[in-house]
């Protein structure tokens, strides 16, 4: 029997059992829906991450550390360890091998990287805006020229260029707080205003001996004078407010100051302590004509651990892929369930149509053709399920995309569900093959049916 004729009879066979066909294919549709959505979400997330990293991170940027555990998901739990003045403990109790000034100097001396900037951790006791007396505290960070920010007000230098020594960049959200606190009337007013930051030196902590001596000579007043910490003011002018952007990676929750000033503040506040000139890591740019990955390998030989822009992308993609894998897993579980649905339906179909099968075999139809007839029916069920599932997924996805974009705050014009025809077509073909495979057992039963027995059944 010709394949077209078998396929035609298969379609008619399904049409004669409409309810059963649709119910069985709905089971597959659930799997198809889940898989389509997971494919679309994975694609959307990858494209978004790509856009995010591509437009924000200089491809030649490197982040270099001395402790590779930073790239492996955080530091080690501390426990009791032999003291090492280069090992710092974070507030959450994780220990990190820090980078020393000597390490930074080694990096600066290299000829394959430039713009080596350690990650200064500048902290000040408080800051004041303009002439207002109100004191505020807030996060500080060194301005990172390798990451692009978007200015809401004022202006920012182009990517790769640093801000001036006296300039500071403030997140727009900080300006909103200042408006609430009646320091300024509107956010844009902040641009051009000064920020005065007061840092406290730690070396002013007097020893017990000094205190005793002071008490002996000057009494209570002398002790107080001695324990008043030494402070220093650093003044900047706000050059821009950064916008909270959906496609910006920059840490928008810190006031950014020039690296040189960040260094001055952190060294002033840590002088005389273990934290002096110790850094979590450093950022650098790979010089033109050098491959970031190759530089990374060379750094590794010197026990520096580096992450390239591509690695960062890899990390994000790995997360996306894992999440997508989980959703995909649900889809596959649904499919496995539907496979049993197909087997069951087709078995019932074979039983119901025993006489029809017997007749066809008595008229000389090959067992192979009978088997093919039932497998084609299964394939059609798979096709139908795939189509129903994808249509619902695409329709729901397109309808929900604007809402999802808003909820996730990923920026206008970016969609988290991106449907691509090729993976969908591949999926539907795969569903048909799976359905055919599931239909194989009932089809074999049909093919092996003895026509005389079959014709005898009433």
């Amino acid at each position: 029997m010709k394949t077209v004729d078998i396929a035609r009879r298969a379609v008619r066979g399904l049409r004669n059992a409409k309810a059963r066909t649709i119910l069985t294919s709905l089971a597959i549709a659930v799997g198809a829906f889940t898989i389509t959505v997971s494919l679309a979400a994975g694609e959307g997330a990858r494209q978004y991450a790509d856009k995010l990293i591509g437009s924000n991170v200089n491809p030649s940027a490197l982040f270099i550390v001395k402790d590779k555990s930073i790239f492996e998901g955080g530091g080690r739990q501390a426990g009791l360890q032999v003291y090492d003045q280069n090992i710092g403990t974070t507030s959450t109790g994780l220990t990190l091998k820090q980078m020393t000034q000597a390490d930074v100097d080694i990096l600066k001396a290299r000829d394959d990287i430039e713009n080596v900037v350690p990650t200064y951790a500048p902290t000040v006791r408080y800051m004041q805006f303009g002439d207002n007396d109100k004191k505020f505290t807030g996060q500080l960070a060194a301005y990172d020229p390798t990451i692009l920010s978007e200015a809401a007000f004022g202006s920012l230098p182009v990517m790769g260029k640093d801000i001036d020594d006296t300039q500071a960049v403030v997140p727009e959200s900080f300006a909103t707080v200042l408006v609430d606190q009646k320091v300024i009337k509107s956010p844009q007013e902040l641009v051009g205003k000064t920020i005065t930051m007061t840092a406290v030196s730690s070396k002013s902590l007097a020893s017990g001996e000094q205190l005793a001596q002071a008490y002996a000579t000057g009494g209570q007043a002398a002790v107080e004078a001695l324990t008043v910490p030494e402070t220093k003011e650093f003044t900047f002018m706000v050059s821009a407010l950064t916008k909270k952007s959906a496609t910006a990676l920059a840490s928008t929750s810190a006031i950014q100051i020039p690296a040189s000033e960040a260094r001055a503040i952190s060294e002033y506040t840590t002088l005389g302590t273990d934290g002096y000139q110790k850094y979590v890591g450093a950022t650098a740019l790979v010089k033109d004509g050098n491959d970031p990955a190759a530089v990374k390998d060379k750094l590794l030989q010197k026990e520096f651990y580096a992450q390239t822009a591509e690695d960062l992308q890899g990390v994000v993609f790995a997360v996306v892929n894992t999440l997508q894998g989980i959703v995909l897993g649900f889809g596959i579980v649904a499919l496995i369930a539907s496979v049993f649905g197909i087997i069951n339906t087709q078995y019932i179909s074979v039983l119901e149509r025993t006489r029809e099968i017997g007749l066809m075999k008595a008229l000389g139809m090959r067992g192979k053709s009978v088997s093919r007839l039932f497998q084609f029916e299964a394939a059609w069920i798979g096709f139908l399920g795939g189509i129903i599932g994808t249509i619902i997924a695409v329709a729901a996805g397109l309808a929900l995309n604007p809402w999802l974009t808003e909820k996730l705050g990923i920026g206008e014009g970016n969609y988290i569900l991106i449907f691509q025809p090729i993976p969908i077509i591949i999926m539907i073909v795969a569903l048909m093959l799976i359905a055919m495979l599931a239909g194989w057992f009932p089809a074999r039963k049909a093919a092996k049916l003895d026509p005389i027995e079959a014709l005898r059944t009433e």
Binding site: M1, R9, N16, S369, I452
Partner: protein
């Protein structure tokens, strides 16, 4: 086509419960003859017909059609032989209720790979022969009993078979409709030249056939020949005298 049945034996069940449905059955059917296989219910008529058409494989004996023992053929060859050379009319109609008249009749042609164009022509012709040309697009379930039986006949003759097997073709019909069916079958036998083998317990119908094979408990009881005193006359003479 000459059909030679020799020493056919078919046993159902094993050992203690063994039951001989056919016991050493032998006879010959000349080309173009009409044969009635007559016997009581359960005597083995259907079993014999199934063996003669290659549907069943008895454990002993031969069915030689045109010099070939079809019981020795491979499955594939037997299937092909059935699809090309044989037309079946089963005891119950066995038409596919959900399919149209056209698709019912087209089935044997589809099985033997006839092109769609030729199929259309031959199906229309067969439906016209049985007087169902106005029901081409009707679902078979909407046909009356007699129409269903005529549809079964159309399906049996559409591939122009050399042998037509009919198991109780008029068993379920009233006498008037039965007569129409009988006329159709004998018409095909006389004018189409196909060998006709009818299984029946209707003595009237049996007497209209050239040869009557009486079966009793799986054995040949007797063979009557209406046409010539010589039971195994040459096929050409047989045809000429009709």
């Amino acid at each position: 086509m000459v059909i030679e049945v020799s020493s056919l034996t078919k046993t159902y069940g094993k050992k203690n419960s063994a039951f001989k449905a056919l016991d050493d059955v032998s006879f010959t059917v000349p080309d173009g003859a009409s044969v009635a296989i007559v016997g009581k219910s359960g005597s083995g008529k259907s079993t014999l017909m199934h063996a003669m058409s290659g549907l069943d494989r008895p454990e002993a004996g031969q069915v030689i059609i045109d010099g070939v023992d079809i019981l020795k053929l491979k499955n594939k060859a037997v299937d092909r032989f059935r699809s090309e050379k044989i037309g079946f009319i089963f005891q119950a109609f066995f038409v596919q209720a959900n399919e149209t008249s056209f698709d019912n009749v087209a089935l044997p042609l589809e099985i033997s790979n006839v092109s769609a164009k030729e199929r259309k022509q031959r199906v229309d012709e067969a439906l016209k022969t049985v007087g169902l040309d106005d029901k081409t697009k009707q679902k078979a379930r909407n046909l009356s009993g007699g129409q269903k039986q005529r549809l079964a006949i159309a399906r049996a003759i559409v591939n122009k078979p050399s042998i037509i097997f009919a198991d109780e073709p008029t068993g379920n019909l009233d006498s008037a409709t039965g007569e129409i069916i009988e006329d159709l079958l004998f018409g095909l036998n006389k004018t189409g030249g196909s060998t006709l083998i009818i299984v029946t317990h209707d003595a009237d119908l049996a007497s209209k056939c050239d040869i009557q094979v009486y079966i009793k408990d799986g054995k040949i009881d007797r063979i009557d020949n209406n046409v010539t005193t010589q039971p195994f006359a040459s096929p050409t003479e047989e045809g000429a005298e009709l």
